[in-house]
Subunit: 409 residues, 2 copies
């Protein structure tokens, strides 16, 4: 008997009808003779509503209390799903993060899983039950409730699959799988049949919202195949695993974009030690993540320092950077919020010359200016004007012939 | 430094503004130099909404899952209250039933508290925090969430006060205290300054919704003074305690009513052993509580058996009783759902003759027929036609001169 871990996202359990639909899907898996553990997100917009409620009470909600508050969303959806399954005559039980043995550190709102003690789940499975686990939450050794941050339920699901030695982890969502590009912008975009962990990690990190990077990392670490598919259809989805065929590795697999990008340039920075610290330490203190950092070649011991932050953090970042720039006698700061990031992702890219050149030419031919470039082993990212996003995506999709058939699998 | 336990009901925390108002009241108590533990119910109609949600998924929600679902209501209100307090610059922390150490049996939806392990609360109080406990919930030794049934948050509050050795337990609600009768029916009804535990217990058991009987019992057992007062005004409320002055004990203290009453009569029952078992065992199996039971004097070894159940249980009860009556060759069953219960309550009643006579005369003078009569040591209850409720309450209020001044205290 195989063990399958399934995760259903918020839109898949948004109301009673959808919860019953999910229950039917779970039963189908169960009736194929599998043990089933299900991880569930909060219903629809519940988490946003709870956050709004907290903000009605205070401008700056304390994180410990907020985590308890937010954790109720998944308690509600998990019990309702268990009720639907029991009502349909199946043995089922819901477990909170604490009951499921998900121990985390005490970093509220962004807790990391330390370990999962699976004995309660194993006991319930042994009694023939379908186990529903509230996603996104865990508990500290002081018995305080934590949440795992964005995409936390994906992480819960993969962690469960890893600890329980599941055959597969299936992530059900409102899209059909992972696409070569966002189908809302690129009509020729194609669902991928399979992807390697690293490729998925880059896609997820660079803007693909379908799966959280932490979950992908965990999947790779424990070698858990992750299927991403729709909970509304019977499509085959996209399988993320470590055994992707050699032949399809050396090519661009997908194009991904991110609109939440803003650029800050500190002008006329004296080129001397300690400058980076003076600029970036205050940002870290304000909990602002800096993404790309570029320092232009120094001319006469003065340079420009450019970095990107999330668009949503820009205002806060400028409030921090302006006094910091002044303190190191820089000439000033300028910000640009009208940007986006476009990345091509595929393993083996760095070993195969010509990808970057093809990317730059495709953009150039459409008259799209490149503001910044960054690369990783399997990714090339260009930051461009946000109004040119759709043109860029389509140009790149054609340039790398992503509309063409499936990858020979 | 004294320790005060306060409990705020659902209407007192129904929205963000009311939660902030409650926070201000708590701070006032705290700033008088008291340690404060607060027990809170779910916001407004949250519990009803969660029940409705469960019924959208299934007709018969499993009780274990329903308890987890319902417990989220108090998690939400307790965290919001803690957020409001922290936001106003006070140290505070919310604790779930489990975190507060409230261990119960595993009778879902009606769990009983086995013990309260107060060490976490004591630790948090020791750090100068106001502790907010989610009411109505506990946890079994298997770490499953339970709820305490109706009025459960009152019970949580008194249990907390008992274990922590609190100086007082203050129950804040949307009424000014305990009244001599329901002010909606009796315009002359008067708030009582104080009441004994037994008197309050009878009032609560016979329909006064202001405080749950279990909480009163617990208060008596541990000798915890319980103040019932409004969270919306600064009124003095009603103090329930064991030291009520001797002088005021031998009189009627209040009149209470209950509209949730129906009568079942089994006609022509053969008067022989085993009959009561045949009728009542099936009711117990269906979890239907039987209140008053009256068996008429036997004439020629045939009798009528009359009992009352909650109006809401009548339909189910008749489905059970009809076949049972047939099985013992009774002549048939009749039901009457148009009834209500009116009780006068006061200590020492049984030692002072004339109360019952005065009650019956007052009803008789208004032409109100008495269907059934039951008594306890400190209570006389008449079951009458529900359309005569208001007349009965006013007649009794006058007959026992309850409008007259305060009880000399």
């Amino acid at each position: 008997m195989a063990l399958i871990v399934q995760k259903y996202g918020g839109s898949s359990v948004a109301d009673a009808e959808r919860i019953k639909n999910v229950a039917r899907r779970i039963v189908t898996t169960r009736e194929k003779g599998n043990d089933v553990v299900v991880v569930v997100s909060a219903m629809g917009k519940t988490t946003d509503e709870l956050i709004r409620l907290a903000h009605q009470v205070t401008d700056r909600p304390d994180e410990r209390e907020l985590d308890v508050l937010l954790s109720t969303g998944e308690l509600i959806s998990s019990t309702l799903l268990a009720l639907a399954l029991k009502s349909a005559g199946h043995k089922a039980i819901s477990l909170s993060g604490a009951q499921a043995g998900i121990w985390t550190d005490a970093v509220y709102s962004q807790a990391r899983i330390l370990t999962v003690e699976g004995h309660r789940i194993v006991k319930e499975l042994g009694e023939g039950k379908i186990v529903i686990v509230a996603g996104f939450q865990g508990i500290t050794h002081e018995m305080d409730v934590t949440t795992l941050g964005r995409g936390g339920s994906d992480t819960t699901a993969v962690a469960m699959a890893a600890i329980l030695g599941a055959q597969a982890c299936e992530i059900y969502t409102d899209v059909e799988g992972v696409y070569t590009a966002d189908p809302r912008f690129v009509t020729e975009a194609r669902r991928l049949t399979e992807l390697g962990y690293e490729e998925m990690l880059e896609l997820a990190s660079q803007g693909a919202k379908v799966l959280h990077p932490r979950a992908v990392e965990l999947g790779e670490l424990f070698d858990i195949p992750i299927l991403v598919a729709s909970s509304f259809t019977e499509g085959p989805g996209t399988l993320i695993h470590g055994g992707v065929a050699m032949e399809v590795r050396n090519k661009v697999r997908g194009i991904v974009h991110d609109l939440n990008v803003a650029k800050v340039t500190v002008l006329g920075v004296p080129d001397q030690p300690g400058i980076a610290t003076a600029i970036f330490e205050p940002l870290v203190k304000e909990n602002i993540s800096v993404d790309t950092i570029v320092q232009n070649a120094s001319v006469e011991r003065v340079t420009d320092l450019t970095f990107t932050v999330a668009k949503s953090d820009l205002e806060k970042a400028m409030r921090v950077v302006e006094p910091a720039a002044k303190s190191i006698s820089a000439r000033g700061c300028i910000a640009d919020a009208k940007l986006c990031k476009v990345s091509i992702v595929g393993t083996g890219m760095q070993n195969t010359p010509g990808y970057a050149a093809r990317m730059f030419r495709a953009l150039y031919e459409k008259g799209i200016n490149i503001e910044l470039i960054t690369t990783s082993e399997i990714r090339i990212t260009c930051i461009i004007d946000e109004t040119r996003l759709e043109d860029a995506l389509n140009a790149l999709h054609q340039a790398f012939e992503l509309e063409k058939g499936e990858d020979g699998i």
